[in-house]
Symmetry: D5
């Protein structure tokens, strides 16, 4: 099932830079692993913002929550999830 | 170039039903033609709403505006456009 | 899977009263049928508003959208859907 | 009487992790005790957020406020309470 | 139990004036009857707006909803209900 | 003259607890003195929130501002003031 | 006492033009009479909008509401009232 | 002096099409005349919306209001005006 | 030219009190000097808030920005500027 | 292609002043270099705010994001990007 997910990262200005860079590297590795598994189907950067628009393809709500809540940057993100259904005019 | 587009359709309760059904049929045909041309890359229904989330792949802003403004349901839609850039963690 | 759904009904002041009463009766019958089938698990009235908070238990996004979009009052409702996951502190 | 309650937890990035984990453990124990007493009737996680949707069944407003204000994570939560009435189409 | 209720009246510009005046007269009679019964405890006009702030004292959520939904102007009102608890610093 | 006042208290998570408890005690004493003087006519707790809804009865705007701005918790409160007029349907 | 008042006029597109022009002429006469009486102290146009920012100087809330609610364009206006106190840095 | 102006056109679905087309033609002529005079310095379409972002260069607030309020589509537009100052990093 | 300006002061709870009092004293002196020069024409306190509504009378946008940006409390203020035009019903 | 960009700078009150001044100097140099290259076409200050409205002229979304995300003040800015198309009434 498909879910539209928007993630906005809020970086506190007094966060420890080294700690944050480490989290970003972990986040990148995790995002790429999930893409390879076919669960994180699309990942786009919103122009001008530290934010992304994504589409996930997972078995159910619990799997999606488990994935999002375990992302290394989860504590710094504001996340909005929208369930997507098939559109009657879609070809695919 | 990719653009994230959300369209919310607002149907006035006193619109002429036959006229509206005709517009919907035209809209569907147009949406499918644009998908076949590769310009309307994704089209998903937002669950519970007369609304969609789409991704367009067009040459530039003018082409996107020309497409959206000529959709048969354009006068009944509220549209929000967000430009998408490549994400540094995206595999594709 | 569980979905939290809020529905706000907007009645245009110049709608035909007889037509609207007929739609309400159909809506009630449909709501009760869906409750009996176990798909519309909870249905509560928001105090002071022509609105409800509901919980649906359906197979997937497409089934939920099909149910909501076919409700007789759908054209008069503003609907917000929120996917619900299991809470780690929940007993049930 | 039933109340719909949404709780959003805001964790300050510079909170002491050990102190916060202790509060979370207390919160879980308290949430489970209240569920066993039948006062916290439903508890669901909102997918992708450190937030829940709950339904409480208590004697009156004062009891609900006493419960919510004494939750260990209360100082870190934004809470919205909506009173629920019986819906005329509800079967139960 | 006490509830804080705000009511905003929206008068469509093309409503039938005689019908609306009749509803207003019924509303006034009903509001005064409920005040005499002690259920509509406070009723104030918000300066500059066709709106009021009220406090109701009723047995439970269902009674409040029954009262509000049967007000003659209910179809023209936007209503927000907030449950009130005893304040620890209140003398009364 | 009557004023509707809503106060939301925002407690910074890193405030000194002893200092804050002292301010709360002063606030309570001040609130009770103002109630005894008849100026703070109503004081209710909003269920589930560190917030209150109040009604003040004072001579004029300047007196109200002087009272509110001198409350011990004023620096931690977000305050909204709404002037109240007599309602044509009010009995009192 | 001083009140800051913002008025936004919403003209329905299908209003009778002659009727509306008559109301506007009455509104202008009334606004000028109130200015001559010293009650409508300031009246400015917000650039680019059918809206004004005003300052009223009246005896109390009831007088202000009586004035505003009897303006010929009141049914077409959205009004926001803010009570003004003396500023400690003001010279006048 | 420069002003940033955003105009959103709202077309009622039951407006007379011939009348509206006539207004649009007048609006276009007026917009082009103002550009030739150097008063309407920039005029861009917001992609996907019946809206524009403009920059005006006029003598003062009164001149800008006179221009905007006399645009043929003014009754159908929502307009937001923002005054622009010289930026300390601007080259021009 | 006239500008309507609203200023909301946000005081961080951990600001150095002595430093802030010094800034407030400077702000007051500056506000009074600008009033004496006729540039800061009106200055009112919003009841219940650390905020003011003001009217400035200056030569142009650049002068207003220079004044506002050099106020001692500017770094702690949220400011909204609205240009004011002559109202056709104003007497003055 | 043209993009409308609004940037609001949020300066944390406890940021190191010397570090921030250094970033501002770098930002200014970078803004001027981009103007000389013709990519940052317009740069205006919003009166009364630490914010600007800009128009960029770049090859595509990726170039714009690369520019914005590398601005020295990017971590302190809230940025909103709006794609601009040619307006049918524009002369240029």
């Amino acid at each position: 099932m498909l879910y539209h997910v928007r993630m906005d990262v809020r970086v506190p200005h007094d966060v420890d830079p080294a700690r944050f860079e480490a989290l970003k590297a972990e986040e990148k590795a995790r995002a790429q692993a999930l893409q390879r598994e076919g669960k994180w189907r699309h990942l786009w950067r919103i122009v001008g913002q530290y934010a992304n628009v994504s589409v996930f393809d997972v078995a159910d709500h619990d799997e999606l929550h488990a994935i999002l809540a375990s992302l290394p940057l989860f504590p710094f993100m504001e996340i909005a999830v929208t369930p997507l259904a098939r559109h009657p005019s879609a070809l695919d």
